[in-house]
Symmetry: C2
Amino acid sequence: MRNKKRAVTIQNVAKAAGVSVSTVSRVLNGKVDVASDTQDRIQKVIAKLGYTSNLAARSMRSHKKNLIGLVIPDMMPYSVEILKGVNRAIEESDFDLLIYTTGSAQKKGTVLHEQHYVSLLNNSITDGAIIVASSATEFITDAPIVAVDPHAVNPNYPSVQGMNYQGAMEVMEYLIGLGHRRIGFISGRSDISSAQRRLKGYRDGLMKAGIDINEELIMPGDFTQKTAYKYARELLQMDNPPTAIFTANDQSALSVFQAAEELKIRIPDDVSVVGFDNISEARHLGLTTVDQFLEEMGYISIQMLVKLINNESLDEEVHEMRTKLVERTSCRKLIQTA
Amino acid sequence: MRNKKRAVTIQNVAKAAGVSVSTVSRVLNGKVDVASDTQDRIQKVIAKLGYTSNLAARSMRSHKKNLIGLVIPDMMPYSVEILKGVNRAIEESDFDLLIYTTGSAQKKGTVLHEQHYVSLLNNSITDGAIIVASSATEFITDAPIVAVDPHAVNPNYPSVQGMNYQGAMEVMEYLIGLGHRRIGFISGRSDISSAQRRLKGYRDGLMKAGIDINEELIMPGDFTQKTAYKYARELLQMDNPPTAIFTANDQSALSVFQAAEELKIRIPDDVSVVGFDNISEARHLGLTTVDQFLEEMGYISIQMLVKLINNESLDEEVHEMRTKLVERTSCRKLIQTA
DNA sequence: TTGAAAGCGCTAACAG
DNA sequence: CTGTTAGCGCTTTCAA
């Protein structure tokens, strides 16, 4: 059943072709100075033996690997969206993609381990790496890295971030434009800069419109549905509930619907809900989200990284994406109750 | 911005700690026979220098890498579902995960390249590999592999497959039980064994119930929404349209709804639709699918692979999953039109 | 145009 | 308990 044939090495190929390993290595790397008949012979042997050069050995000697690494914390919808964009960019490039995920939960998300993963990839088999949602502010690495949506406020490396503050401001302008005055907010993780900026956008949006900030309407949160659900209920059950709710991410917005459904509140008429981010799960429920947000971050990150690998300069070191929330989506009132 | 520090090697650590490389290697690999103060000193140096062992070099010498490889063709919903299950299993194991995707479209899906990717991972940095939707019937590899949903009918290696035939039979029994007699079918790619078996289940399901097979109701397909859409329209526009439609995958079932909507046919009352597979996109539209199908395949595949890596024997070499379509989901008539 | 030999960073005997 | 040594499979001088 399982093929326990010992993997074929460059030595085997050399012997079978009656040449030295260095000659095989030459044809492998497309060097020109090899007699064309020798070349043919070697190619045939390679094909017959099903030889593939050992990644580890090759990476150790040469420096071009045609491989981009990606470090993600998990396979949750958030990461998967980014992955899609990364994949799209990879398909347009010459590189292949190697995604690294840790199994063990206690290893996730610590600065030390992020450094570890980056080293693991970048100092050996990879030409550069993308790191998603990292907390580290600095990396020691041979090859370039680009961070997507880093937690740190002032990362010390190139990164792609959404325009969280502007996006949030636009959401507020939109909701206020609809006539809403009591707008609830469900926060994201307060240790993460994107969440902080979204909250700031909420506050400043109100201030700009000359509306007093009502701290009771600002709920904590951590980007999870579970927590958001709890606070959504609180908001909806207030004596004087908000007429609109803005959540720091779309997962949380889902919870608002869930809570509303259980409380028999009809969302389309009573509350406007807008969630940040763009997870397909949310989109499929008809949630208003920032169109293509995460996917595009992934896409752009690869393009930046490829530039760095090729030693081209970046237009801007920190690429801030426009969320274009209001322009791209209709921010319409929301939606069926599943 | 970018940290161009040369990566620190085991040599640097050894020198800084005033010991030999082998001693460093020993503490790195948790060998016991090292004086505890030496150990401490080395650990401190490692921490200070931010040393991470070179994956490539390490893989080349030792044989335990604690890394499982996964080869997938793309990041489409189908693959992503499997990924989720794989990730879940990885989290319960000691292994980390390395996912390999090739960028270039022309490289995808050929037997030669599948072998290439497997070699790339398995003969160097990985303890074993999962290969998704492979066409190859055999692999030359040092380390074990497990295939998820292979295209080949009789793969020469351990694999996880859905019970496509039984599942399809159950769908047919269910639909016939509802009183349907004219049941349409939209096929999957005819070169793929799972599609063939689903079609066979459709046919045999009818035969078993003593219903004549009407070839007009059997449409071709290729698992894509575009093609399915075309044939869904054909089915729905027949003079005597089917009262139910069974599609070889859930993506195709989505197309039936799309077509129905455009033709102003109300699905819930007029047609029952059941799609094979389990893509969350479909689930969110309320489509009846085989619950947890793909996710579970991914999950099981890792468990099998880990057993193989540890030289334990598999219960069955080919693990056929029960789809449990009828039991797990209600196969209820379907659903809102977005 | 080809081969021999050095060495990438690491681990695993083998000595001490 | 620790250091010395020999490669893993490959690429890359340097000679021939």
